[in-house]
Every structure is written in structure tokens, then in C-alpha cells.
Subunit: 114 residues, 2 copies
């Protein structure tokens, strides 16, 4: 099954997880095409925007950075991220991400349930 | 956990699944960081190279095209793919992918087990 980017369902999240600004989620796969997973999506974070701190219990999330740069804070530790870096968070850990650069940050997020 | 691209384990596959040329697999996550999944990787296919036809039984594979263009054949049906398109294949279906463009095709492949 081919899914063109323009046909993917988009959602705009304001102050996502207590973050700043608006984040756009573009769903690569929805419920009908996911197994053992609850999210597979492009996430676009404009300069200055963020996704606030949140916890992943009994699931694992992957942030795959496609373009731009930012800072991920995982369990209180800050990590600079850029294109092609991956952040893996699970086991009850918390993370947040902020785009502190001048251009859009684009990433793919995948959440797989335990 | 932050994984930098340069630290990901790379594998070069010659004539992968009976395809042409050499394909590079760069593992985003290995076994220790995967649940219900057996692959999460960047795949780079040079111009003219391909991954041959193969079947996905009791698992689902996602091809997320990052750059370049090519043709995916799913159950005998050809589909042109380009940046940001996604192909989802499972339920015993077969697929192959060829880079028939002039530049490298880069994609992310994820395989989740049923």
C-alpha cells in the first residue's frame, strides 16, 4: 500500500505536553496499519517550539531526526540532536524536545508498546 | 539514549534479496533496543541498485522514503515513490524496490512482528 505524504492525516497540537508553540503531526500510519505500535508520524517543530516533558511507561519511543537541530532532555540530561541522530526513550523515563535552532526541526516518531 | 549516526552499525548487502548492486543498512536500533520489531534502519540504495522481491508473513514492513526516487513493486503492481512517501507491506504480500533515478535513494525501513 502506497501512502503519499499529501494524503497523510495531519494534526496540529498547541502547547503539546506543556511545550511551547504549535507542533504538526503527520501520521505515516494510523491504527488500521499499526501493530504493537500507537504512533508512527512525521513531527514538525518550528523554531522556538517544543514538546514538553512526558514519560513513557510500558512503551518505547524513537525520535529519528530528519532535519534541523534541537535539544532533547531525557531524565534531566540535555542532549543536542541533529540530522540522522536517534533518541530512544522507554522504561519509565521522561523526555522533552525543544527546537532551539533557526530552522524547522523535522523528525519521525515511533512508539511501540511493550 | 542518544545514538549518533556515525555510531550506528552499518552492513553492506550485495544483491540483497536477489536485487542488483550493493545496499547499505545503517541500524537505528539493534536487538537490545527493539521490541516487537526486527529491523529499524536507514537503507541507502545507489542509483541502479535494488532490493529483490521478498515476502512479509506475520510481520509488517514500512518503507519511509527520505530522499531520491524509485519504483516499489508490491504483489506485481508498480508504484513510483519519492521523498516522504510511505509503502506498507504485510499479510503475506511481496515487494521489491529499485532505484531507477540518478541519485541515491535513502529510506527508513521498520519491520514489526505480528
Amino acid at each position: 500500500m502506497l501512502i503519499k505524504y499529501k494524503d497523510m492525516i495531519k494534526e496540529i497540537k498547541k502547547e503539546m505536553r506543556g511545550g511551547k508553540g504549535e507542533v504538526t503531526i503527520t501520521n505515516i500510519a494510523m491504527k488500521d496499519n499499526l501493530i504493537h505500535a500507537r504512533l508512527m508520524a512525521y513531527i514538525n517543530i518550528p523554531a522556538g517550539a517544543s514538546i514538553g516533558e512526558h514519560q513513557h511507561v510500558k512503551e518505547i519511543e524513537y525520535y529519528i531526526i530528519l532535519k534541523g537541530m534541537g535539544v532533547v532532555t531525557e531524565d534531566g540530561v540535555e542532549m543536542k540532536v541533529k540530522e540522522k541522530d536517534v533518541v530512544i526513550t522507554g522504561g519509565g523515563s521522561t523526555h522533552s524536545i525543544i527546537n532551539n535552532g533557526n530552522e524547522e526541526l523535522e523528525m519521525i516518531a515511533v512508539i511501540i508498546l511493550e
